[in-house]
Structures are given as C-alpha cells and as structure tokens.
Symmetry: C2
Subunit: 348 residues, 2 copies
Amino acid sequence: MSKMYNVAILGATGAVGQQMIDTLDRLEFPISELKLLSSSRSAGKKIMFKGQELTVEEAKPESFEGVDLALFSAGGSISKELAPEAVERGATVVDNTSAFRMDKDIPLVVPEVNADALKEHNGIIANPNCSTIQMVAAMEPVRKAFGLKRVIVSTYQAVSGAGNAAVDEMYEQSQQIMNDEPINPQILPVGGDKKHYQIAFNAVPQIDKFQDNGYTFEEMKMINETKKIMSDDSIQVAATCVRLPVETGHSESVYVEVEKDGLDVAGFKKLMEEAPGVTLQDDPSNQIYPLATDAKGKDDVFVGRIRQDLDHPKGFHFWVVADNLLKGAALNSVQIAQSLVEQNLLKK
Amino acid sequence: MSKMYNVAILGATGAVGQQMIDTLDRLEFPISELKLLSSSRSAGKKIMFKGQELTVEEAKPESFEGVDLALFSAGGSISKELAPEAVERGATVVDNTSAFRMDKDIPLVVPEVNADALKEHNGIIANPNCSTIQMVAAMEPVRKAFGLKRVIVSTYQAVSGAGNAAVDEMYEQSQQIMNDEPINPQILPVGGDKKHYQIAFNAVPQIDKFQDNGYTFEEMKMINETKKIMSDDSIQVAATCVRLPVETGHSESVYVEVEKDGLDVAGFKKLMEEAPGVTLQDDPSNQIYPLATDAKGKDDVFVGRIRQDLDHPKGFHFWVVADNLLKGAALNSVQIAQSLVEQNLLKK
C-alpha cells in the first residue's frame, strides 16, 4: 500500500456513520488519520477505531483542514453548508444525503454502474439513495446487454433507513402492542412531517415527504437518480415506496422491460451471477430467495424470484434485497472512495 | 324479513370461520338455525352465537341434511370432499378455498363486480382469494369506465391469511427476537412447504407453494382469478406476493393501464368515491392514505396514493388495503350469500 489518507466522517454517531467507520476498517481503506465529526449534540462521544479511542468533535468549517477525504452523512442542510467548506480546504467529499444528487455538476455514483462518472467531479460526489443503489446495481448488467425501457418498483424498506431512533421506536412500539399498552408514534413514517403512524405490525406507504404531484420525495429520488446514474433520461421509471417493520434490509419488487429480444430467465440469472457486487439467490424448488434478515450485515445485493412476465416476453419481475446501511449507504460511499483512490481522483 | 335459512359453517373454529360467525350476526343474515362444523380435532368446542352456546360438530356428509346455505373455509381437500355431498343434500355452498375457483362451471364472485355470475351456479359458488378480492373491487369501476389493459401488483400481505397459528408464530417470534432468544419457525411462509423462515421483522416473497413457472400459486391465483371475475382473459396481470409481519390487513401496490383516454387522478378518485364497498383515503398533503392497522375490522376496501404514471398517461398507481379476513374472506362469502338470497338463487 502506497499512499495513506486523512479521512473525516461527518455524522459519525448516526446509523450510517457507524457503518462507515466499520466499513473503512473492514475494507482496509488506507487511513493515516480518522477524524469523527458530528453536530454539537453528539460531540464528545467516544468511539473505538482500530483499537484506538477517538473523540467525536463538533463539525465546523475548520474541521476539514488537512482532510483528504470526507464522508458526509449528517443530513442535507449540513451537507449544503459544510461540503463546500470542506472542498475549499482541499478535501474530496462523498456525500450520502440528497443535497447534491441531482446537481448537474456533481456525479451520482454506484461504482459497479458508473465509476467513470467520478472523473468529472469537482470535489463533491453524491452517494445515491439507498433504495436506488441496490436496484441499479441489479439492473445494470441487464441494461448493458439488452437495454432498459421501463422500470416499475414497489419497495419494502427497513426502518434503519430513518435512523437509530426509528429503530428504537419500532421495537418499543412492538413491545407495547404485544403488552396491550398504548403507543405514541413520534418519528415514523417521516421525522420531519406532521403526522406519525404506527410502524410495528404495519406497512406505511410513505417515505419522505409528499411532492405536489402525489409522489413522495423518496419515490422521485428512485425515478430521477436511476436515470442519472444510468445516464439515460429515456428510461421510464415508476416507484411506490413503503416502510415496513424490518430493522435493516430493503427489499424491492421490480418489473423491468428490456429493449432487445433474446433475454430469458436463464439469461437473466446468468447476468446476475456474473454481475459485480450481486449474489443470485434464486431456486424456487428449494425455497431459495433473498430475505432482508439474511442480507443484513452483508455487502452484496441479493437477487432472486426472477420470472418472465406471462404476457410480455421482454418483461421480467425480480426481488432484490440489500443491507440499506451498507450497500445502500456506508459501503457504497467507501467504494466510491476506493474508486477515487484507484483512479487517482482524490483532490490530493 | 320473510324467509329464514338453515346455515352451516365448515371451518368454524378457524380465523375465517370465526369472522363468518360474527359477520352473519352483524349483517343480520336471516338464520333459522346455525350449525358449526369442523374437523374431528376441533369438534366439541363451544362458540357463542346470538346469546346461545353452540357446540362445534365434526363435519360429515350427513351434517348437511336440512342445510340451505353452507359456508366452507376448512381447506381445499375438505371442500373437494364435502361440497358435492352438501349440494347433493340440497345445500348451496359458498366455498372460500381454492378448490373450485378456476372450475369453468363454478362462478367466482365478488358481488360488487359480478353478482350476475351467481345466476349460473350449480350449487357451489367460489369465494376468490383474499388478495384478489380487494384489488378487483377497487379496479372494477375503472375497468367499467375506461377498460383495463394491464395490471402489475406487488402485495404486502398479513399473516392472519395463513391462519391463527401463523399469527401466534409471528407474535411469539417477535418477542423472542426482542429478548435475544433463538427462534424456531414452523409455519410461515407456507405451512405445508419444506422450509420455514423468520416472519417477524422480515418480508418474505413467498405465499403458497411455487409452480414450475417460478410464480407462486398465490401469484397465479391473482392472475387467473382477476381475469375470471372480470370475464376478460385479455387483461394482462402480473403479481408478486409477499408476506409481512402484519397481523390483519393486506396492502397492495397496484399499477393499472387503462384502454381509453380521458382518465386523470381526479377522475380516478371520483370513481373510487362512487364505488360500492370502496372508501377513498387519499390526501397526501395531510398524510392521508390507507393503512393495514386502520382497515382491520372494517368492511370496506380502502384506496389511496392514486398517481398518474409520469411516462404513461393511461397508467395509474394506487395503494389498496382491506381486512383480509373480512372483505378478503368472511364478509365477501356472506355478501355472496346475501346476493343469492336477493336474487332468489339459493337452491331452496
């Protein structure tokens, strides 16, 4: 290993931030110094990294002096404020919020799909939305070989995507319901929205706030980000995003229609077997298919239940599951950082 | 009220049977005598009906002597064996299993959609699959006014559809997981299949066994039954069926493509408002949409999240929720019985 880098994690105490720390360690990212940053509220907390106790510091513009790579996951408004400051001080920022994702000058990257887009970066790279990443990772080999005309996805999303407090709410509520005690939803489906609903033993068709067109922001993220990552605005994408009482592991029921003839289920499976970062789990006769509980803690995107549409020979249905904190967030961010290093694209 | 009927319920101690007893009472079905039947295992149990204690009897061919109307919900093989016996003895059978649903000579009925089909019955009427009923009830007004070309549905199904023991398994497992105790799945996803998986805090893409084509029987039920109920084999239907840790209340993410021009979201909502047995719950700005926990114990089918597809002007997405034990099973069976009475179609 040649060069080592000074790395900062902003949002280090959050659900994703914790996974970023673990993932940097696990993937042996060449770190000379790790700086953990957060809001003032979480500053002062102690976190272990490679046998060393690190103290979380409050993030300020000056925090990024001397930082080569900064992984951001502390909310969109904080990214908007501090990412330019970090870039100005020489850092390259991989941002896991929605702040810059649709910005024309900022690459939105899933390394298996569009690592080349990193070449165009101006200091900030956006990490896509969790539910988008796993879907495009699975679809890319199909798109490459047969073209992609249309996508219709319905999601089954885990509560850890809404943060640690949402996970606590789900378990606390589950216990209260089983004890026949009253519940008091405070966070889900959307922390910042007006009303809160029971998530335990329920399925809530709202993730993020509603737009004027009746779609939620989460649904629009899947629609817009897919087109941007695949560099093709003509792909027709529709999404319905639903929150479930699952701790970690987003599942998705996806319908794709390809452009070219010649794809069948066997061919689709072969593409999945050969795809980087994808594991095929598809053997109905032995009840083998991806499950959120199996995907938790794993790096790959798991694909199964591949079926040809009964009326449309170019239409296929499949089920894709991934750990939303890993491939959906922390892992993809670290993989972007690795690709920046490999391509020699870090600002310094 | 003029005529009164001798009614039998087969499967009286099951999740659906219990709802049948309640629903007959609540809807004031004109009963002169109610006979509760079950397997030998459950015979002898006592159940209250209109202040009277009834003893559950073991179902035998002779049990149906003098019975006018028999509601069956005790499994397909029992229906196949006993429904012809009941018919031979003069009863009209409403069967809530999959035994006869695709039989050409047996009507498959959701009264709001095809009550007329009851006229063709020869003693047995099939009650459709729970996940099909709520979807066709919501789609029928759209089909009638604008035609229906294509349907793609992903389901979010409750465990009570798999019976009372599955509900117990879900709660017991949830508690074990929260206590950090080992779990031992025995029933879900499919009681009669080889492997059993964790349902608590998970999403399992298997309901009923797999067919050779990679679809589950549940998925093929939705596909085939929709065409039969709507009397149109040309409607293209695709389904992905998923079991969730929800006690009661199936949710569905549905995409429909209509034949004719001129439908918009406002028009779709108006159709839902005017549809029999349907309640519109659709106000994104106030976070109003159907939820399984709200639908439980209610008779109606709840529809919301209606959106026009962003690429296909004739394509619409919506979210439909209903109590799978009521409209999905017991209520629809009793409504079929009511329609038989109204149309004077009971065998006697």
